[in-house]
Structure formats: structure tokens, C-alpha cells
């Protein structure tokens, strides 16, 4: 095992992309015509937005694709300066090797401030002769209207279990793994449409099996190890009214494990939904509170305070 399989088996051509039947044919028609507009890829993480952007570049530019493809992550390089400096610098030079245009792939474009998006819009317009933009985002609603209207919008949906299983099969074959059918199904179930997650679980499970068959048990082991720990315990403490202990666990999650507030809320949500020990009428109230906390976190600046407020509310249930 010398590589991360998500990279080793990342589809190289559009035809290999799984579960995006509404997207792939349209992208292929661009390749056929030799031209494309600016594109906006919307959808959750791990379902093929980046893969499609890279595959598209490969199909347009062939071997030299990397010299005409610029990838940058808006959430790492936030702000208006990125647009003004980095993007502009790249956009203004001519395409390499006689290509008709260059592609700038801006991941998580919804992380850009609206000022930066406005600057981006001007750049898109100014350099549209030499440059095509592919913006990716979780929610297209966070992209300002003028940009949306300049892009062809593609909505990526979560692939079904069948699609994920057929993709996993490709890797299983390539790595010559032995794995039971129910284990494959379980991975696809846990991944819940996130292809990257499915592949990661498969790789960890394979590392546990030491060359023997990967069983359902191995998959359970692998998923348990990578799940955010302690969330269940934190909820339990909060419901007992032991707020200080719950808060200590929360701090551990936020600081030692470096989880974001959003990740913790998601994990809390999952535990509450799946937990058999909580009565349904209580669950309903808890879910309402979780939803409110999640919403406030989008609005609020301090995830710790919002989750603490949620834990204090759990104390009354």
C-alpha cells in the first residue's frame, strides 16, 4: 500500500466518474464541441466535483493539461487579494501549447466573501477570451447572482449505493482484495453517498485484514476507529445534567481532535438519530434544538458557545 487510494483511483476520464448521470454527458458534449462556458459545480463534499474538473481538463488539453489548469482552494486562500493577485496573474497570460483557453478551478468558491466574489466576477468577464472558470461550491445560493448567471450550473447529487459499490469493485479488483459482499454493502451504506469516504474506509479495512478476507467485522472496526469519538459520551453527560463533564469532552473534541463546530453538530445529530436508548418524543425535541444550534452556528461566530447552549438544553430533556 503506497498511496492513498482516493488519489490512486481517482477517475482520469469523465466516463469513469460514477453516479453523476446528469452531469457527465453535458460535460462530454463540451469536450466534443471544443469549447465550454464558465461552470458552477454545486453539491456536497466527496462526490466528484474536483474529479470532474480535472478529468475535463485532461480531455480538453491532453498531455499538457497541467500547464493550462490552475487549481486553488478558496477556503485556504480567502479574500479579495487572492482574486486580485493570484487569479488575475494566471488569467492574463495566454494558454500554453496552442490550447484554446485555460481552466481555473476554484474549489469552495462559496467561502469567498461577497467583495471577493464581485472582484471575481469582473475578472471572469475581463479574461473570458483566454480563460474559463470552474467554480465549485456546496451551496449555489452562496454564490452571488451575477456570477451564477454567467455560469452553466451543474448540480452534483450523491451517488446511490449501487454506484458506490461498482466503484469500490474497481478498486477491489485493482488491489486484488478479498472481501465479502456484505462488507462492501456496509461500506457503501456508511459512506452515505460520499465516495471519498467509502474509499477511505475500504483502505483502512484492508490495512486491518492483513491480506485475509475483509469481513463485516473488519469494516465495523475500521469505521469505529475513524468516527469522531466521545460524542455519545458528551451527549450522555449533558442529559444527566453533568454540564462540566460534557464541556470537558467538548473541549477535547474542539482542541485536541481539532474538529470544527460543524463537524461536532453533524456527529451529535447522527448519534441522536441512531441512538436506540432515547425515546422518540424526546428525540424530536432534541433534533429541533440541534437544528437551531446548527443554524445559529452558521450565523454565530463562536461554535463553542452555541454547542454549550445546546448541551445545556439537553440537560432539560
Amino acid at each position: 500500500m503506497l498511496e492513498i487510494w482516493t488519489e490512486k483511483y481517482r477517475p482520469r476520464v469523465l466516463d469513469e466518474v460514477v453516479g453523476q448521470k446528469n452531469v457527465v454527458p453535458r460535460l462530454k458534449s463540451y469536450v466534443k464541441s471544443g469549447n465550454m462556458p464558465h461552470l458552477l459545480f454545486a453539491g456536497p463534499a466527496g462526490i466528484g466535483k474536483t474529479t470532474c474538473a480535472i478529468a475535463l481538463a485532461r480531455e480538453f488539453f491532453g498531455e499538457n493539461w497541467q500547464s493550462n489548469f490552475y487549481e486553488l482552494n478558496a477556503s485556504d486562500e480567502r479574500g479579495i487579494d487572492v482574486v486580485r493577485v493570484n487569479i488575475k496573474e494566471y488569467a492574463r497570460t495566454a494558454p500554453f501549447g496552442g490550447a484554446p483557453f485555460k481552466i481555473i478551478f476554484l474549489d469552495e468558491a462559496d467561502a469567498l466573501t461577497s467583495d471577493a466574489q464581485a472582484a471575481l466576477r469582473r475578472t471572469m468577464e475581463k479574461y473570458s477570451r483566454t480563460c474559463r472558470f470552474i467554480l465549485s461550491c456546496n451551496y449555489s445560493s452562496k454564490i452571488i447572482e451575477p456570477i451564477q448567471s454567467r455560469c452553466a450550473v451543474f448540480r452534483f447529487t450523491r451517488p446511490g449505493e449501487g454506484d458506490i459499490i461498482s466503484y469500490l469493485r474497481r478498486i477491489i479488483e485493482g488491489e486484488k482484495l478479498k472481501i465479502s459482499d456484505e462488507a462492501v454493502k456496509q461500506i457503501a451504506y456508511v459512506a452515505d453517498g460520499d465516495v471519498r469516504k467509502a474509499v477511505n474506509i475500504l483502505q483502512v479495512a484492508a490495512s486491518f485484514s492483513d491480506g485475509k478476507e475483509i469481513t463485516l467485522k473488519t469494516v465495523f472496526e475500521a469505521t469505529a476507529m475513524a468516527d469522531p469519538k466521545d460524542v455519545r459520551e458528551m451527549i450522555g453527560k449533558a442529559m444527566e445534567g453533568n454540564f462540566m463533564d460534557a464541556r470537558r469532552i467538548l473541549d477535547k473534541l474542539l482542541i485536541d481532535q481539532g474538529l470544527s463546530g460543524e463537524d461536532i453538530i453533524k456527529a451529535i445529530h447522527k448519534v441522536v438519530i441512531d441512538e436506540a436508548g432515547i425515546k422518540e418524543d424526546k428525540k424530536v425535541i432534541m433534533l429541533e434544538k440541534i437544528g437551531e444550534a446548527d443554524f445559529r452556528m452558521v450565523e454565530g461566530s463562536n461554535p463553542r458557545i452555541q454547542i454549550e447552549a445546546l448541551l445545556a438544553a439537553f440537560g432539560l430533556i
Partner: protein
């Protein structure tokens, strides 16, 4: 550690406006005002200017101590080559000088012609800085303020008043209120702990000191926006070699006592109005105040319902604050403070109020800074390799990556090489520093012998 006897607050006082910590908006306004003087706008009746501030003869710099008001005034003068007369309003003689300036018309052109007063040469600007203008001496305060107003109106030189409490000044003279005021107000705010940390780090470097980064950021944080205080703390730390707790106690104890006292008073007040006032008097940035209340709230609550109520208010306060900061809706600041006050007010058992406490969260964050930095650098390397953001790499991929790293030695060596991982990053992943050191050395030198195809390396490092 070698330490000289010069005061660092003087030695490292910014010489130009751009070196001043934080307060970019205030600096921009000051430059604009100075531009007005350079063009001679304030001395011409009915002159046009693109901004009101350019027409004003004087500026009032208002803000808490140690945030750079005097420094900025001096830097402005030195940048423009203006000479400076520094007066302190609390000094009786300064009052006299101000009065004298008015009485004799010392600042008008006509006065200079009789030859007895050569302070000002033709066309030269002298900046008069009147410090502590909200703190005039003597019982004849009212007259004192009036003298300043006159001095501004009649004078022909730029003047800067420096105040901590703008309202105290405006209470004494209504001339400073409204748009006909002869002086424009420029507000200075407390700079961010990160900004202060940057200043301290530069000093540490320039002084050639070896002080742990965590200590520097602790000092920066504890200074609560007081740059001068932070630099003094740093210097006394360098002199004494004491533990940071001792230094911080010396430097920050008073401020922390103020905050605790403010929270205590808020908890004991009978009305939301008093509680709000108590919090405002604590003189702390509302964002920090939130952390303090968060610390003490669970300890004060004697029942689950109290705790729930407290956090309901605190959570609303947080939302108001984020709107203030993110969207600049400063009018919401009041609601944030009121929600904070409300969170404390309904505590029934006041005896639970602890005599001493400090936000644990802040200490925990400080202690874990090293680890968080390592995770961050690791995530950046992984993100590039996996075509994703560092945030996603950290949360989606790192847990799996870490398992594989520990279970498969070949994978570990290969990843150390491909991602150019460093010792501390490997140590974080496997939890063993000796092994990490060995692994990094082996991974870098022994790669060829592990028979890895050239082709796979080429594809992996090629993305911009």
C-alpha cells in the same frame, strides 16, 4: 539573554503611521485630515474638500489607553516633517499655555510679525498635541475646555486632542458635539491579540532573544489590546526571566480584577440597565467578555433550568456579536451586551460567585497551540496531494490517514517522502519522537532502494 536599559516602548515606538498596530480605519482618517492641512483647507473659509474631515482644524483621538493614539499623532508629525509641541492637559502649566495661546493669539500669523515670537516659520506646520484632554486640571474646568475650543478656532496650526473618555470631554463642552464641532473625532480600538503578537515577535527577533512563541502569545493575549502594556510585560519578562504567570499577574491582574468585578456587579444588579452598565464599565472587548461569562456561568447556575436560561441569552449575545463583526452592524452591540447581562442576571444563588477565575478555554487554546499548528501544516500538505481544502483534509482524511500511517510502514515511508513530512508532523501522527526522527531520515535516504516506480512520483507533485 542580553537586555539593555532603553525602554522598549520608546525604542520600538512606530515612526510611521503604517507601522502602527491595527486601527487601519483611524490611520486612514488621520492621513486624510493631514492632507487637508497640507492643502490649507482648514484655514480657508468655505473651501471645498472631498471629505468633511479635511476641513477640520483639529482631531480628537479617542480610545482606551495604550492602543496607539499618541504614537499615531507623533508618527503623523514625523512623516510629514511637522515639528511637535506636546502638552499635557492635566498639567496646570499646559492649561496656562493653552490660555496664553488664545489670549495672545500666539498661533496667528499676525503675532509672528512683531518678532518676539519666532516659534513658527513661514509655511511651517507645528502640530500641537494635547494629551489627556478629557482630564483638565483645577476647578475651572469649564473655562479650560473653553480655552481649548478658542485655541482651535483662532489658531492656524493643526491640533490633536487625545482622550480616553470622549463623552467626558463632550459633557464639558457641547462645542465638540455635532457636525459644527471644530474637531473631528477619530476612534481608536483595541488591536487584536494577533496584531500585538506580531509586534512582540518582531521585538523578540530584533533583540535577539529566545523566548518561546507560546509565551509571547500569552503575553499578547493577556494584554487585552494594550500594546504598551504588552511591550512592557515582554521587557520585564526578558529582564527577569520569571515565569509568564508572574509577569501576567503583574501586568494583567488589575484588568482581570476589573472584569471579574464587572461580572459580579452584573450578576448582583436588579435591573438589566444596571447589569449592562456594569459590563460596559468592565472596559473589556465584548468578545472577550463572552469568554469570561462562559467560564463562570456553569459555576453560578444552581439548577439545570438556570443554566439553560443563561446559555440561551449567551448564545443570542454571540449571534449579535458575530453580526457586529461580520457585517459591521455596530448598532447591534447594545443588544449583545444586554443579552450578556441577562445571562448573568437571573442567577439566584449569588454566593456561588467565585472569587478568582480565568477563562480555561483561553488557557487550553494557548497550551495546544503547538499541536494545532502541526495539524495545520500537515493538513496543508495533505490538501495539496488530495486536491482538496486543508479544512476537508483535516476532518475527512486525516483520521484515515493516521490509521494507515500507523498500520503500514511502507505507506508511512512513502508518504513522508511524497508529502515531504517533517519530524514534528510524523511525531504527531505516530506519537513517538525517536521513531519519527528515524523514519524521516530513512524515508528521505532509502527511497531508491525501495523500488518505487518513477512514474507515480511524477503525477503526484505536479499540481500548482
Amino acid at each position: 539573554m542580553s537586555v539593555d536599559s532603553v525602554e522598549w516602548t520608546e525604542k520600538y515606538r512606530p515612526r510611521t503611521l503604517d507601522e502602527v498596530v491595527g486601527n487601519r480605519d483611524a490611520i486612514r482618517k488621520m492621513k486624510l485630515w493631514a492632507k487637508g492641512w497640507i492643502d490649507g483647507v482648514p484655514l480657508k473659509k468655505g473651501a471645498e474638500a472631498k471629505d468633511e474631515i479635511m476641513k477640520k482644524k483639529a482631531l480628537i483621538l479617542a480610545g482606551p489607553p495604550g492602543v496607539g493614539k499618541t504614537t499615531s499623532a507623533l508618527a503623523l508629525a514625523s512623516e510629514l516633517g511637522w515639528s511637535v509641541i506636546e502638552l499635557n492637559a492635566s498639567d496646570k502649566r499646559s492649561g496656562d499655555i493653552v490660555r496664553e495661546i488664545v489670549l495672545t493669539g500666539a498661533l496667528t500669523e499676525s503675532f509672528r510679525e512683531d518678532g518676539s515670537f519666532t516659534l513658527f516659520r513661514d509655511g511651517e506646520r507645528k502640530l500641537i498635541i494635547l494629551d489627556e484632554a478629557d482630564n483638565l486640571s483645577g476647578r475651572e474646568d469649564r473655562g479650560g475646555v473653553q480655552a481649548i475650543v478658542e485655541a482651535i478656532r483662532k489658531g492656524s496650526q493643526p491640533m490633536i486632542l487625545i482622550v480616553n473618555d470622549l463623552y467626558a470631554l463632550q459633557k464639558r463642552s457641547s462645542a465638540f458635539k455635532g457636525k459644527h464641532s471644530p474637531a473631528a473625532v477619530v476612534k481608536f480600538r483595541k488591536p487584536d491579540a494577533r496584531d500585538i503578537e506580531r509586534v512582540l515577535t518582531r521585538i523578540v527577533r530584533d533583540e535577539g532573544l529566545e523566548i518561546d512563541r507560546e509565551i509571547v502569545s500569552e503575553i499578547a493575549y493577556r494584554s487585552r489590546g494594550d500594546v504598551r502594556g504588552a511591550i512592557n510585560d515582554l521587557q520585564s519578562f526578558a529582564y527577569s526571566g520569571l515565569s509568564v504567570d508572574n509577569i501576567a499577574d503583574a501586568g494583567a491582574r488589575d484588568r482581570e480584577t476589573d472584569i471579574r468585578e464587572g461580572l459580579r456587579r452584573a450578576a448582583f444588579s436588579g435591573s438589566i440597565r444596571d447589569a449592562r452598565k456594569a459590563l460596559m464599565d468592565a472596559g473589556e472587548d465584548p468578545g472577550n467578555l463572552l469568554a469570561w461569562i462562559d467560564e463562570v456561568l456553569p459555576r453560578l447556575s444552581s439548577s439545570r433550568i438556570e443554566l439553560f436560561r443563561g446559555y440561551r441569552h449567551l448564545s443570542m449575545a454571540d449571534i449579535h456579536l458575530s453580526r457586529v463583526y461580520r457585517r459591521g452592524q455596530y448598532s447591534l452591540w447594545a443588544y449583545a451586551t444586554e443579552e450578556m447581562a441577562a445571562s448573568l442576571m437571573f442567577i439566584r444563588d449569588k454566593d456561588r460567585f467565585p472569587s478568582s477565575f480565568f477563562p480555561q478555554w483561553i488557557l487550553k487554546m494557548g497550551r495546544s497551540r503547538g499541536v494545532r499548528n502541526i495539524r495545520k501544516s500537515l493538513a496543508v500538505k495533505m490538501a495539496k496531494y488530495m486536491h482538496t481544502t486543508s479544512e476537508r483534509a483535516l476532518h475527512d482524511a486525516l483520521p484515515y490517514f493516521q490509521i494507515l500511517f500507523n498500520r503500514d510502514e511502507r505507506f508511512m515511508y512513502e508518504m513522508i517522502y511524497r508529502l515531504r513530512l517533517e519530524e514534528n508532523e510524523v511525531e504527531y501522527l505516530i506519537g513517538d519522537s525517536a521513531k519519527a526522527k528515524y523514519a524521516v531520515k530513512e524515508a528521505m535516504k532509502g527511497r531508491k532502494s525501495r523500488e518505487i516506480k518513477k512514474e507515480s512520483q511524477a503525477t503526484l507533485f505536479s499540481f500548482g
